[in-house]
């Protein structure tokens, strides 16, 4: 793709920094990138918003159990908590604004409505709605509202162009690119902040943080995460690559040669978080924002290639021509229905109808069963034994729970075993790696080598301080050991907590057998 010169402020061109910065922020372009972001951001959210619709009264309103973010910070009653009916009405309006924003109908008004209501609803539910992608989207909505993203690829733009009699006499309007630049800089700052967080978390680099996170199922199920969690060395390498990319992003993405590689790495990174951590909306939100880097020249380049393709495959023209004819037939250019005043009225009437329908739907839903024919819900008793178990005094930590795993191998790198094995040869030096779970007290760990009949051959021990994640024990497979089954046994506080069986193969004398 070609690159607009305005995208590279750090060139050695003979211009002052003031001129370069001015050009960087105020170059005029058709806002294609922001238009794509305007369409994709609400789509990314749509699933989550629709999923919450039946629970609006419960999670946002004073009828239920809202969880304002401000409470977590000790700022109580910072924002008003509305009644169920008001929340339902506002939520319905937000969903409508989401749709009109995506299609670009009364675009700026839709973005302001959607952005404001989404900000309110997300901040009112810190338990199950607000996340960092909500915050990122709130920034995007602010910047989209300040941009002219509705000037292209929108119903508003189509209505405006219908008034121009000669279609060849109209060009797409250009605007200063600063809203797109702020989205780009914002992304750079987010990645830089994420890198700082990782720098604050030393175990990120050992792979332990990722390993434990991939094993949890608190987000959507991610089978690849379970699998990768077994290879912490790989996670450690990925961790280093991630932080290098996050720091480099804001500095490199402006260079035309590096822009696509930086964005491609970012896309791969975010797609991997879906498969390994079960994050679904976050990657879509972040990748949608990458379109803010798309320039007018990029779109022209793509359009030229698409036209070439259309000439080869005329079938590709059909949907566009059919859609155009249908739109013109439904709303002819001379029709009064396309006027701004009529469009505004249509927006208001639709909003009113959607709000009323939403309130009626929620009333019929009767979430709390207040109008059920059989009466209100009756609280059912729980099993007394189960309740008493839950309320019992603190139990001591089991020894086996202090251990994550015991693994055997002969190669280690980055404090992790490279090769987990169950078979060794004479001359091998077995590394027994005990991975330990914090929090725990300082431990004395015994590591025993026993033969197939559970007879002790040798025993080593070491102190495992509480901050240590792994203890390593070494066993030489000397020629004196008979080939056969053996086990490494791990004990803490005198209790066996893990056992790994392995097979020793080879010639006990160490000589090569002649045939």
């Amino acid at each position: 793709m070609s690159q607009s010169p305005a995208l590279a402020p750090f060139t050695l061109a003979p211009a002052t920094w003031r001129t370069r910065i001015s050009e960087f922020f105020f170059a005029q372009e058709v806002p294609y990138g922001m238009a794509i972001l305007r369409m994709l951001a609400p789509l990314a959210l749509s699933g989550n918003l629709i999923r919450r619709w039946p629970w609006v009264r419960d999670i946002f309103s004073s009828d239920g159990a809202p969880a304002p973010l401000a409470d977590n910070f000790g700022h109580f009653n910072m924002l008003p908590v509305f009644s169920g009916t008001v929340c339902v009405a506002l939520y319905a309006l937000m969903v409508l604004a989401m749709v009109t924003m995506a299609i670009g109908f009364r675009t700026r008004l839709s973005i302001i409505l959607f952005g404001t209501l989404y900000w309110y609803f997300s901040i009112m539910d810190s338990v199950s709605t607000i996340t960092k992608y909500s915050v990122i989207l709130t920034h995007f909505f602010l910047l989209l509202a300040l941009s002219n993203c509705g000037a292209v690829w929108s119903v508003d733009a189509w209505l405006a162009r219908r008034k121009v009699r000669d279609p060849l006499a109209c060009s797409l309007p250009k605007f200063p690119v600063w809203p797109a630049r702020l989205v780009q800089l914002f992304l750079g700052v987010v990645y830089l902040g994420a890198a700082v967080t990782k720098l604050h978390t030393p175990v990120f680099f050992s792979g332990d943080q990722l390993m434990y996170w991939m094993m949890t199922h608190m987000m959507s199920y991610a089978p690849l995460g379970d699998l990768l969690s077994q290879y912490p060395l790989l996670l450690s390498v990925f961790g280093y690559i991630t932080i290098i990319w996050e720091v480099a992003f804001i500095f490199c993405v402006w260079f035309p040669m590096l822009r696509l590689p930086m964005l491609a790495i970012g896309a791969i990174f975010h797609i991997m978080t879906a498969f390994t951590l079960g994050l679904l909306v976050f990657p879509v939100v972040m990748m949608s924002s990458y379109f803010a880097f798309m320039t007018e020249a990029d779109v022209q380049w793509l359009a030229a290639r698409f036209r070439k393709l259309q000439r080869r495959l005329p079938v590709l023209r059909t949907p566009f021509s059919v859609f155009g004819q249908l739109a013109d037939r439904l709303l002819p250019a001379e029709s009064r229905w396309g006027r701004p005043a009529v469009a505004n009225a249509a927006f208001v009437v639709t909003a009113g109808l959607v709000v009323m329908a939403g309130v009626e739907l929620q009333y019929r839903q009767d979430l709390y069963g207040e109008r059920r024919p059989e009466g209100r819900y009756v609280l059912q008793p729980m099993d007394t034994e189960r309740a008493e178990k839950l309320l019992a005094a603190d139990q001591g930590l089991r020894e086996k729970d202090k251990l994550m795993a015991l693994d055997l191998g002969i190669w280690a790198a980055g404090d992790h075993l490279i090769d987990r094995r169950r078979q060794f040869q004479h001359g091998d030096r077995i590394i027994a790696q005990a991975s330990l779970n914090p929090p725990r007290e300082d431990l004395w760990v015994d590591c025993l080598l026993v033969d197939g009949d559970d007879r002790l051959i040798t025993k080593v021990g070491a102190i495992a301080p509480r901050e240590l994640f792994r203890s390593h024990f070494y066993f030489e497979m000397t020629p004196g050991l008979e080939p056969g089954p053996y086990s490494i046994v791990l004990k803490t506080s005198g209790q066996e907590v893990a056992r790994r069986r392995f097979k020793l193969v080879g010639n006990p004398t160490g000589t090569v057998a002649a045939n």
Partner: protein, 261 residues
């Protein structure tokens, strides 16, 4: 003719958005040079302000300065990926009636939102700031005997037991033996007034581990203050615990991570 030349030859669309306004709005009209210059000045001021706020957030996060001072900081601090734990946890809200009968208040009889996966909503409140409210909501809309007490209980188990069987069997010789620990996080009256609040299981285990050092434990007992003066702030109906924990982030609960789904 290239696409850019073609575009350049065409006059701009005359839409209502760019129509010349009258009155004070003409100061910022896009169609006049003065108006455009004023718009650029205004945009410049916004750019400086916005980048300044982002820069402050980054600095605040990096240095740990005012990063939790106000809810607004949540919007400029990028602390994704901060929490983790080798133990997974869920939460239970239990009520006891005057007859001594126990009731499970969450999920409610009408169900619960499962916001990010297969877990109900209450499991994503690791700081126990809102769970009592969820419990009292269940009580508000159900028929029941008078309630004397509400507990919030944390359930914890080693994350390794969440591994699928196929992966477990390949790595471990032992059979899976999952075991849940329970810890009461708070006690409230039947109408949700807080009586007592307790630290999380992870924080408690850290204290147990520290107490395992006899010298340190004896010294802490000798120098223990007579009154507790810090550590918790009383809110209107909930306690908000001050942020504590190791620099590694291990002490922080791993659920309701700000990254979300």
């Amino acid at each position: 003719m290239s696409a850019s030349e073609f575009v350049a030859e065409r006059p701009p669309v005359q839409t209502d958005a760019v129509a010349t306004p009258s009155g004070w709005l003409s100061t910022f009209s896009r169609t006049s040079p003065t108006g455009q210059a004023n718009r650029n000045r205004l945009a410049g001021a916004f750019i400086v302000l916005y980048l300044g706020i982002l820069g402050f957030g980054l600095m605040s996060h990096t240095l740990g300065f005012l990063n939790t001072a106000h809810p607004a900081m949540y919007y400029i601090v990028w602390d994704m990926f901060c929490g983790w734990s080798p133990y997974n946890n869920k939460h239970h809200i239990i009520a006891q009636g005057e007859s001594g009968t126990y009731y499970d208040l969450a999920p409610a009889p009408w169900g619960s939102l499962r916001p990010w996966g297969a877990w109900d909503r209450q499991h994503y409140d690791p700081w126990n700031n809102h769970m009592v409210r969820m419990g009292t909501t269940t009580l508000r809309y159900t028929e029941h005997e008078p309630i004397s007490k509400i507990w919030v209980v944390e359930e914890i188990w080693a994350t390794k037991y969440d591994l699928p069987d196929a992966i477990w069997n390949r790595r471990y010789d032992e059979a899976k033996d999952p075991y849940s620990y329970y810890r009461v996080r708070s006690e409230s009256t039947g109408d949700g007034q807080l009586i007592a609040s307790y630290i999380s299981w992870a924080q408690y285990q850290q204290m147990v581990a520290l107490g395992d050092n006899p010298r340190l434990y004896a010294e802490s007992q000798r120098n223990r203050p007579m009154f507790m003066v810090e550590g918790q702030r009383l809110g209107q109906d909930v306690f908000v615990q001050s942020v504590t924990g190791s620099s590694s982030g291990m002490g922080r609960p791993q659920v309701a991570n700000p990254l979300g789904n």
